[in-house]
Structures are given as structure tokens and as C-alpha cells.
């Protein structure tokens, strides 16, 4: 008996040995003696989903994209387009041909020269295939090589947002070996780019390490390494900053902002976010729509807008870290945003009731819920995604209360993002209201296109249709005169504001924080008001340096 037990013990010990063997096999190689390597550690919540811009769709991928790749054109610190890989560019008089002259002497990480071939391959791949960034090149028919450092890009109509196209130029000498459909699953382990930092290690679920590219064509980075560390939640992320395990974070637990602000070694950055969250309505007029036809009446949607206490929603759902929403394009993108001065629908339940009353919805049977003339109750199904964090759920609870107040009943069903997509796209839009959100670009076209008639069943999640709106969209798309274009874009937002297929609930702030005791030279983009770590350009990573 005893002997058998000791056998068991030995077996256990062997197992222990194997396990410890496993773990030690993971240990990093001792590459170089630890001379003063300056490492900037950044804490983030979401990990990129891929190393390839042709695969990745999570915004977390921008971590890699911004450090590793360059575009032809980038934004300067005041959001004006400037050349990055492109030295200069011109557009033909008819607005259909763009010619880019490329910078010479730029090398890929593996030593190959960067040339026109890379640009041509990347642009054509995006145009001919269907990749997440393809939408940036909507309207482009093809790219042609003129000489080694000149590229011609042809469009079918003038493309007002050409300078805003965010396209990471990929190395043709690596990618051209694959067929377009293979690129749906091909990703380099460590992408070869031209950017200021090279990715050298990715421990999934833990961190990604980048090494400085001393030969970066704009200017050499002033730190040796950047490590992005991934945390499962805001809370631990914030704590890591407080104790100094990381030097900066791209999100902050909202309850801890005051504590962080009080810390003299920590700087909290609060910037207007480029996003919006909407209460959307099922505006699908087609026969097969399973939505409640009552929400097709703009009066009801408009009344909802007046009934919502958006200040309270921002205060509770976002802990005050946001702006009550108005129009489709958020204030953070500057002049494209339309602000509804006097016509603003601010919290006013009385006005909301009046609108409903005038449109013929009254509560005749005294149950607190209004009916139309035929006795159909204003009783709506409300789909709420619960898998995207707490804000949607909290907001929906307040919305329910606000609508109850004006005699509209809602039944909230919580579901995950996939289920809601199914409901809208696969099951004939089997709900009446929903909450969802969008991130927005610096150029307004893409977000304006969401509510186009042609996007019903595609990117549109309200299935809204308005001919005047559609026409204005085409007009702004080819309007190269910026001032005129701004005007059209404002006009479009006004339509949406009054018709309310989307009631914009809020624009969420971007919150970041960094430690000031080890590094200096942090840059905000746009200057003064923008973010530091998550940026539209690379300024911060070139300017930040050890103290």
C-alpha cells in the first residue's frame, strides 16, 4: 500500500517537473546586457485582433498601425493634411486624377526600398478586394505607377475626401506573393512597415513590445521601446498607473479620475471623443419590416428626443465624462459638426407630451400609455446590447424611465451585439428601438453615408430613407470647395436632427492619463484639446522622451 502511494507521489513530482519545464521554456532569451533601455509602458484594455490592416477591424489595431505603418498623407497637429510617405500631390482639373510624388530613401524594416510599387499594390488590393480599409478608397478605380516614385490614382468622380483616406501602405515585396482571398487570413507575425517603431514581441493576452526604428524618415524616436500592456478591466488598468507599473493608460476607471487628478505625478487628459451613441429607431418602411409602424411617425421620434434627460444620462451612464449629443457628426471633428442653436431639443417632457398630443396620441384608457386613434398603444420593444460595457444598459434604464414619463412604454430586451445584428439584419428588423454607437472619422462622408437609402440592409442600422438626404450626400461627395461642402454637410445633419431616425444620446469623452515623473514631451493632437496616446498621427511617440 505504502509503496503504491509513494509511486503516486513520484508521478506527481514528475508532473510538477514537466509543468515547471513548460513555464521555463517561456522565459525570454537573454538578448543583450541590460544597459539603460528606455521603455515606455502603456496600459490598454483591448488587444489588437491582428497584425494585418487587411484583417483587423478592432480600433485596438491602431496601436500597431500607428507605430508600424505610414500613409501617403497624414494629419499635422492641427489636423491639416500633410505629406507622410508622399512628398507632394496634385489633382487634375477635372478632379479625377491624383498624382502623388513619393519621398525617396525610405526603407522597410527588412531593408528593402520603399517605392511606388508598394503604394500601387496597396491601393489596388483595397480597391479590388474587400477589406476593412477598402471603404476609405470608395470611388477610386485604380492606382498606376508612373515611375519609381510617382503614383497616379484614378477616381470615377471627384473625391472630396481623398486627402482624408487612411490607408496604411503595405510592403509589396511581401504581400504580392499572396492572392487577394488569401489575405483574409494571412498576417505577418511581426509586420514589416516603415514607421517609427517595429513590433518585436507579442505575448497574446499580455503585451506587445515595439522597438524604436532609429532610421525613421521623419525623425528618430527618443525612447528605445514601447510596450503596450493589456488589462482585463479599467480598474486594474488605473491601479497599474497609480503604482507606476505603466507610464500611461488609454482608458481610466471613471470613479478614479478625481484620485488621479489629485496625484501630482499624474496628468489626466480629457478630450472630446470622436464618436456618438444613438438611440436608433426602426425606420424601415418595407412590407416585411417587423417593426412597430408607429415609430415610422417622426413625431414620436421627435417627442422622444425632447423627453430624454441627456444631461442625466451623461452624468450617470458616463459618469459625466461626455457631452449630451445633438447632431450626427460630433463636435470633436470641428467645423463639420452642426450645432442646433435655438432649435435645440433640450430636456422638456412638457414639450414632448405636447408633440404627442398634437399628433393625436392620447391616453384614453387611463393606463398611463398613449394610444393612436385606432387604439394602438405606444408600446415599443427596445433592444439593448449588454456586451459592450455598462453605459448602454444604464442609459437604457434612464431612457425607459423618461419615456414612461411622457406615456410611452418600452420593454427592454438585453442581448449581445451579435444577437442585435441578427435581429436587424437577419430577422426583418424585429425590434422598434435600439442603442448603438459609431466611431467617427475626421472626414464626415463615411458616417453620413450610414443613413443613406442605399445602405438599408447594409451599414445602416435604422433602415432610414430620405431622398433629399441622399441627394445632398452625393453633392457633398464631389464638392471640392471646402466651405460649400461644410454647408451641405450641416444641411444633412439638420434633416437627421428633425426627422430623428437617430436620437444622438451623447458623445463620449476620451480619457487618458500619464505619469509625469519619468517621461516628458507628451503631445496632444489636436494641440491643447486632443488626446495624447491614441492619436491620428505619430507626434506624441516622436516627442516623448525620458526626463
Amino acid at each position: 500500500m505504502k509503496r503504491k502511494l509513494s509511486l503516486l507521489l513520484v508521478a506527481l513530482l514528475v508532473m510538477a517537473f514537466i509543468f515547471s519545464g513548460c513555464s521555463s521554456s517561456q522565459e525570454p532569451q537573454e538578448e543583450e546586457p541590460p544597459k539603460e533601455i528606455v521603455t515606455l509602458r502603456i496600459g490598454a484594455k483591448t488587444e489588437p485582433d491582428s497584425t494585418s490592416p487587411l484583417i483587423a477591424t478592432l480600433s485596438a489595431y491602431d496601436i500597431i498601425d500607428n507605430l508600424v505603418y505610414d500613409d501617403l498623407i497624414e494629419y499635422d497637429d492641427d489636423l491639416n493634411p500633410v505629406g507622410s510617405l508622399a512628398e507632394s500631390w496634385t489633382v487634375s482639373d477635372d478632379g479625377l486624377e491624383w498624382t502623388f510624388v513619393l519621398k525617396e530613401g525610405i526603407k522597410w524594416f527588412d531593408g528593402e526600398d520603399f517605392t511606388a510599387d508598394d503604394v500601387v499594390w496597396t491601393y489596388n488590393a483595397l480597391v479590388n478586394g474587400e477589406f476593412p480599409q477598402s471603404v476609405q478608397l470608395a470611388g477610386v478605380t485604380q492606382a498606376e505607377k508612373v515611375d519609381d516614385y510617382t503614383v497616379k490614382v484614378v477616381t470615377e468622380a471627384p473625391k472630396a475626401d481623398m486627402e482624408a483616406a487612411r490607408v496604411s501602405i503595405l510592403p509589396e515585396h511581401i504581400y504580392s506573393e499572396y492572392a487577394l482571398e488569401e489575405l483574409n487570413s494571412f498576417a505577418e507575425e511581426f509586420p514589416v512597415g516603415t514607421g517609427p517603431f517595429e513590433m518585436v514581441e507579442w505575448e497574446p493576452g499580455q503585451f506587445i513590445k515595439f522597438k524604436a526604428n532609429e532610421d525613421y524618415f521623419a525623425s528618430a524616436p527618443q525612447i528605445d521601446e514601447i510596450v503596450y500592456v493589456f488589462f482585463a478591466n479599467d480598474d486594474t488598468l488605473t491601479q497599474a498607473l497609480t503604482v507606476g507599473e505603466v507610464d500611461a493608460v488609454t482608458a481610466v476607471a471613471t470613479t478614479q479620475i478625481d484620485t488621479l487628478k489629485a496625484d501630482e505625478n499624474i496628468e489626466v487628459i480629457q478630450a472630446l471623443g470622436r464618436n456618438f451613441t444613438q438611440l436608433g429607431f426602426n425606420c424601415w418602411e418595407a412590407e416585411e419590416s417587423l417593426g412597430n409602424p408607429l415609430v415610422l411617425d417622426p413625431a414620436i421620434r421627435l417627442a422622444t428626443d425632447w423627453a430624454l434627460d441627456k444631461e442625466e444620462i451623461v452624468a450617470i451612464a458616463l459618469n459625466g465624462l461626455g457631452t449630451p449629443g445633438t447632431s450626427l457628426i460630433p463636435p470633436s471633428v470641428g467645423e463639420w459638426h452642426w450645432e442646433p442653436g435655438e432649435e435645440r431639443h433640450s430636456y422638456n417632457p412638457e414639450k414632448a407630451r405636447e408633440i404627442l398630443e398634437n399628433a393625436g396620441y392620447t391616453d384614453t384608457d387611463g393606463d398611463g400609455i398613449r394610444e393612436d386613434s385606432e387604439g394602438n398603444k405606444l408600446d415599443f420593444r427596445f433592444a439593448v446590447i449588454s456586451s459592450y460595457g455598462e453605459a448602454y444598459v444604464k442609459a437604457s434604464a434612464i431612457i425607459q424611465k423618461n419615456l414612461q414619463d411622457i406615456g410611452i412604454n418600452t420593454t427592454i430586451t438585453l442581448m449581445d451585439g451579435g444577437a442585435q445584428s441578427d435581429l436587424i439584419y437577419e430577422e426583418n428588423f424585429d425590434t422598434d428601438m435600439f442603442i448603438w454607437g459609431w466611431g467617427t472619422e475626421l472626414d464626415p462622408s463615411l458616417k453620413l453615408s450610414v443613413l443613406l437609402t442605399e445602405q438599408v440592409g447594409k451599414r445602416s442600422d435604422a433602415f432610414y430613407s430620405n431622398e433629399a438626404y441622399d441627394a445632398l450626400y452625393q453633392e457633398q461627395l464631389v464638392e471640392v470647395d471646402r466651405e460649400k461642402r461644410v454647408e451641405i454637410v450641416h444641411e444633412m445633419q439638420k434633416i437627421i436632427y428633425e426627422e430623428a431616425p437617430y436620437v444622438i444620446l451623447y458623445n463620449k469623452d476620451s480619457i487618458e492619463a500619464y505619469r509625469t515623473d519619468k517621461f516628458e514631451g507628451w503631445t496632444r493632437v489636436p494641440s491643447e484639446i486632443g488626446t495624447t496616446i491614441t492619436q491620428v498621427n505619430k507626434s506624441n511617440f516622436l516627442s516623448v522622451k525620458p526626463k
Binding site: N233, T255, G320, E390, M415
Partner: protein, 293 residues
């Protein structure tokens, strides 16, 4: 066959015997009182203590206990004591109903499997084994995501995934009851199988099922809490798990807002402990093998 007087006397004697033994079991007594306490809170609390889950208030978010809010407020400015009182209702309800489903399935499978025997038995038991090894929490998480997280669905999911232990237990007990003389006698008199199963086997299996039920309830409550914490519960219903999730996601832990997660955590622990104590002591009393020691 009629219900004979001797049977009744026997049951009565057993019951008296049980009560005497139970009174001498301090753990069981504690468990009993804990459960009674929470039952009273769940039944009477909401009547005596006003709480409206729609009382959002941005002016009182995550506030420390005060005269107005005895146990402080949550991240939507609501009273935590009220949420705890309402939560006891939700937690108990989910625990009890999930257990009913689970015990029903488990008893049915175990009884049929053990009593009928043969090929049906091995098929049912293979299936039970297959189900038993499925990793519980991931399975429950997947099902909850699949069905959507209403309270009703959570109850169904918990019920559907926790019957295997009961089935095994009932089966082995049925097998031993089946050997007894009175079953043979019943067969001899020509009683039907279903009749014997319900009339003779079930009552004899029941005591063990009962103590098992109590333990299953404890697990169900614990699992519901975990599920809510992981974000797969129904956030519109104020359960204890939701309070804990709120505390975790709102960062209350790192600012030391103890009132947000300590009382709710303790409530879960004490209630689960109550059920465990009671179930464990029942097991000791009813399981003759354990008692004889």
C-alpha cells in the same frame, strides 16, 4: 393497495426521530435560522422598506453610508440597502426555481434509469456522464449568452445544467430500494411499474433527494452570482450578483467603497452557507451510514 396505517405510523415515527436528531445538530439549526431570516427579508422587506430601482440620481453616485442611505449608494445613485433587500428575493427565487427544475429532471432520469434498468439505464447513464463532464460554468455562460439573459432564462439554464448529481444519487438509491422485499411483494400482487415507482420507490428515495436539493440550491445561488458578475445576468433586475458586478465595473473596489461590495458579498456567503449547513446536516441525519458513526 391502500395507504396502510402502519405506513403512516412509520413515517410519523421517522419524522419525530428526524426532528430530534436535527435539534441536536447545531450546524443544521444555524442553517435553518439563516434561511428563515432571508425568507422573511425577501417576503416582508420590500413591503416595509421602500426601494425603487428607477430612482437614479446623479447627485449621489457611490456615496458612503449616511443617514439617508444606511449602506451607501451604487453607481447610479440608488440605495444599496434597498437593492440588497430586493436582491434577496431575486437570489432566493432563482435558487429555488432552478433547483426545482434540476431536481425534477434529476429525479426523473435517476428513477427511470435505476428502476427500469437494462439498455435504457446504460443509455441514460452514458448521457448523464457525458453531461457531467461538460465544464459547467463555460456551458452555463454559453447557454446564457445563447438564450439571452432574462431572469427566466437564467433559471432555465441553471436548472438544465445541474441535474446530473441528483440523477446519479437517485439512481443508486433506487437500485438499493429495488432490492427490498416490499418491492418484490408489490410486483407479486401485480402492481404496475409506474405505480410502484411513484408509490414505493420515490418516497424511499425522497429524503436523500431532499437534502441534495438544498445543496443544489446553494450551488444555484452561487452560480447565479458568478454569472451576473461576469456580465451574463440581467442587469435590470437588482440581484446580489448585479450589485457585485456594479462594484467591480465601476471601480468601487479600488476607491475602497467597501459598502458597495462587502455587504452584498456577505449576503451571498451567508445565504449559501445557510443552505449548505442545512443540506449537510440533513445528509448526516438521513444517511444511515453517516449517522451510525
Amino acid at each position: 393497495m391502500t395507504y396502510r396505517r402502519e405506513d403512516f405510523e412509520l413515517h410519523k415515527k421517522n419524522f419525530k426521530n428526524f426532528i430530534t436528531l436535527f435539534k441536536g445538530n447545531p450546524m443544521g439549526i444555524i442553517g435553518f435560522y439563516i434561511i428563515v431570516f432571508f425568507l422573511v427579508v425577501a417576503l416582508v422587506g420590500p413591503i416595509l422598506y421602500h426601494y425603487n430601482p428607477q430612482d437614479f440620481n446623479s447627485a449621489h453616485m457611490i456615496e458612503a453610508p449616511s443617514r439617508q442611505f444606511v449602506l451607501g449608494t451604487d453607481d447610479m445613485g440608488r440605495d444599496i440597502l434597498g437593492a440588497l433587500i430586493y436582491g434577496s428575493r431575486v437570489s432566493l427565487m432563482i435558487g429555488v426555481f432552478a433547483t426545482l427544475i434540476s431536481v425534477f429532471i434529476g429525479t426523473l432520469v435517476g428513477l427511470v434509469s435505476g428502476f427500469i434498468g437494462g439498455r435504457l439505464d446504460s443509455v441514460l447513464m452514458r448521457f448523464t456522464d457525458g453531461f457531467m463532464v461538460l465544464p459547467k460554468l463555460p456551458l452555463i455562460m454559453i447557454l446564457a449568452a445563447l438564450l439571452g439573459s432574462s431572469t427566466r432564462n437564467i433559471i432555465i439554464v441553471l436548472g438544465l445544467t445541474s441535474w446530473t448529481g441528483t440523477a446519479r444519487l437517485v439512481r443508486s438509491q433506487t437500485l438499493s430500494v429495488k432490492q427490498r422485499a416490499f418491492i418484490e411483494r408489490a410486483f407479486a400482487v401485480g402492481a404496475g411499474r409506474v405505480y410502484i415507482m411513484l408509490r414505493h420507490v420515490l418516497p424511499n428515495v425522497f429524503p436523500l433527494v431532499f437534502s441534495n436539493t438544498i445543496l443544489v440550491t446553494a450551488t444555484a445561488i452561487l452560480t447565479e452570482t458568478t454569472l451576473s458578475f461576469l456580465g451574463l445576468g440581467n442587469p435590470m433586475v437588482p440581484s446580489w450578483g448585479q450589485i457585485l458586478r456594479g462594484a467591480f465595473t465601476s471601480g468601487a473596489v479600488s476607491i475602497g467603497a467597501w459598502w458597495y461590495f462587502i455587504p452584498a458579498g456577505l449576503a451571498v456567503i451567508v445565504l449559501v452557507l445557510g443552505f449548505t449547513f442545512l443540506g449537510y446536516s440533513f445528509d448526516e441525519i438521513l444517511n444511515p451510514k453517516l449517522r451510525s458513526r
